[in-house]
Structure formats: C-alpha cells, structure tokens
Amino acid sequence: MALSTHSTPSGFLLPSVHSAPPFFTEQPNPNTQAHLTEQWIRLILTYARHRRLFVLRVEDAEVPGGHWDEILRNERINRRILPPYLSSLMAAMVAKNLAVYDPPKQTRAVLLYWRLPEEWADVLHSWATATGQLNTILTFYEISDPPIPSPLSDIPIPLLRRAITVLSRSNRAQIIGVADGEGVRFFVG
C-alpha cells in the first residue's frame, strides 16, 4: 500500500499525498489542516498553471466532468473533495492573496493567481514590446484572444485589467476608452 506520485492523462504529476484517502477530508486538528491546506493550495495553483485554468468554482466539486476532475477526485482510491472543503480552500487562497472572488461579493468562484498581477504585468509589457505594439491602442479583446497564441491567450478580462493597472502605476500603460469597450496603450518601460 505504498503512496506514490501519479501521472494524469493530461501529463500532470500528482504528489504522493494525493493518493492518501484522508487528504480529501477537511481535518479537525488545526495544525494538521494548516499543513494540508498548504499542500492543496500548491497543488491547485500548479495544476492551474499546467492547464492554464484561471477560474475555480465550488461547482467543480459538486458536478463531475469539469476541468478540475484530475485534482479534485481520485478514482483509484474512490475519494473526492467535498464542496464545503473546496470552499474553505478557496477562502484560504483569497486570504493569502493567491486568488480573488470574481465576480466580487460572492464566494462560489475565484480567479486564481498562479501568476500574481504584478507578474502578469511584466509578461504583458514584454509581449507588447516584443510584438512591436508599443504606443498603439489595443483592445482588451485583441490581447486576450490574439490571432497568434501568446502568453496572454485566454487571460480573463478582470485579471488583464489588474495587470494593466499595475503597469499604469509605473507609466508603462494607460487605459483608453474605445468604441465599445476598453483599450490600452503601452509605453516603453
């Protein structure tokens, strides 16, 4: 009954703790739970990065078939994380500024920061520079859904907006109102 790592169909290596049945139960001992919360958070963020998933919902623990099944369930040991536990983990991530409730004022869905807004800001500015798009006006849509896949592809608009806000503080970007939405102009950093 050795607990070992396991590779998922999507090519992600699950840590050995994921093979332990009690990992899927919220622990009553606070020290133990603090330790396991850290493990879960690391797992969630690493997986999100691997699959480029930006959103985690309580619903992902309620209904199978979503993007998170490889993490939230372990068919080999017949265990799954229950919705209240996932909700606690989401709250923990928000408290550590590793996620935000999005949309705001609800607690069923979070936007994950597997890259912090500051890091996204740098990625964004580097991409704009490398593709020769400084000083031109780009719509948010052009950034999150570019014709050629980029590091910014599929980035949720709220996260993109945060990254731009970070850039604007150092005068590397400016939000511009465009015809039917928002646009941005990047400047040399």
């Binding site: 790592t5 050995s16 332990a20 049945p21 009553p28 001992n29 020290n31 330790h35």
Partner: protein, 250 residues
C-alpha cells in the same frame, strides 16, 4: 558520564602519578614493562585507527564489529572532540556521529507536520540515506547507526527516543510529548494495515471497549496530531490514518 574513557584517560601525567603510587608495591622493572606495553598499545591503536578510518565510515559491517570491539575494551569512540578526544581525532568518528545526528534531526523536523513527531524507523533511515547520497556515496547507513546517533541526541532534551511498538517495528519520537501505552498499541495496529485504523480493529483484536478505542483515536487526532481523519471510508464512514505508519514513496 564518559570522563576518563578512551585513551585520553591515559595521559602521561596521570600515568606517572598512578605509577608513583604503585611503585611501592611493584618493582621498577615491572613498572617499566607496563609503561612500554602501554606505549606499544597506543601506537598500535593509532595505526589501526588511521588505517581503518575510511572502512569504518563506509562499511557498516566493519563499523559494527569495530564498535563491539571498543565496547569490550571499555573505549568509547563516540565521545566527542572534548571528551575522550583521542579517538575522535584519530577517527573523526565523533564528527561523523554528530553529522548523522544533525541529519536525523533534519528529517524528523521536516516530517513533523505530517506525522506529528513520530516517524517509522525504516522511513527515517531511508530519508537520511537520501540526504547523504550526495556527499558520502560509498557509505551505507544502518538502523543501528541511527539508533546509536539518537542516543547522542538525548542531551538535547527534545525528546528524541526510539520506541519499540511490537511486531518488529520501531518508531522514532522527536517531540517531548510521550506516547502513552494505548497510543503505542494504536501505532502497532496501524502498521499492520499500512496506516489505516478504526475503532473496530482495537475492539476486535485487542479487546478494548468502544470508549477506550474512541478516546485513544480522538486524542491522537485532535490533541496530538498523530493521525488524519478520512470521512469517506467505504465501510466505516469514519476512519483514521496514521502518517508515520503509511508508506510514502517520496
């Protein structure tokens, strides 16, 4: 404790003094004879130590035999640089022993959050060996080496102790909180099932009452952090898992 053990006890001044006391009983020739024998012995030991230092460090069987020999002649090579210093200097065994002690502490501290401060001996030996692989590729660490090293950690007062939980299994405790007898039984039973334990096992195999079983498990869970809860157990609903009795591959 280890005062005067090892050849440092036989330093020249003490020897001369003791012989002076004896001289009224023994003739001078006998005294000279003794002194030259001691010098010969010291030289031979010194030669032995430098010749075999590497073998002692790298070969556990040789090391075991060497330790037994030392014990039988009343010499303690474990004594650190300050006490019984001669051996330590010749062999560097004191340093080796302390280095192993530090690595044991390292593994115990880093796994403490997971297992509550109790680790199975096999797992400890395995993890310490992995730590060492980088530096001492030729050396093999045995359970005996670890047990001996843990003895040197006792003065730390941090509770490092080897526990025998029956069934040929040993655990190493690294927290001050002592395991009570019931917890030791729980650990032993958990070993059998690869870490899994429920009240029913304690009732059926050990004849405990339900209350006693529940109290032991709940204390280990809530008070001591020595086990984890699984609320999705197919048969029992609520089961306990003891991380120190589980086999972790990493």
């Amino acid at each position: 404790m280890h005062r005067g053990v090892g050849l440092a006890a036989f330093d020249r001044e003490q020897v001369s003094q003791r012989f002076a006391e004896l001289s009224s009983e023994l003739s001078k020739t006998q005294v000279d004879h003794l002194q030259s024998q001691l010098t010969q012995f010291r030289t031979a030991l010194s030669h032995f130590a430098t010749t075999h230092r590497d073998s002692i460090r790298s070969d556990p069987a040789f090391r075991h035999a060497f330790q037994k020999m030392c014990l039988s002649i009343g010499v303690d090579p474990l004594a650190g640089p300050r006490k019984g210093g001669w051996w330590a200097e010749m062999l560097g065994m004191g340093d080796w022993q302390y280095e192993l002690g530090v690595q044991i502490v390292d593994v115990c501290v880093s796994t403490r959050e997971r297992n509550g401060g109790v680790i199975e001996m096999g797992e400890l030996v395995c993890m310490v060996s992995k730590l060492r692989n980088g530096e001492d590729a030729s050396g093999v660490i045995t359970e005996e080496d670890v047990i001996r090293s843990i003895k040197t950690l006792q003065p730390l007062g941090a509770g490092y102790e080897v526990l025998d939980v029956g069934g040929g299994k040993k655990m190493v405790r690294s927290v001050v909180k002592e395991l009570d007898a019931d917890q030791a039984v729980v650990l032993a039973e958990a070993q059998v099932e690869g870490g899994w334990i429920v009240e029913a096992i304690l009732e059926n195999r050990r004849g405990w009452t339900r209350d006693r079983a529940r109290a032991a498990l709940e204390n280990m869970l809530l008070r001591d952090g020595l086990c984890w809860l699984d609320s999705q157990d197919e048969h029992y609903g609520r089961a306990y898992w003891v991380p120190s009795a589980m086999h972790w591959d990493e």
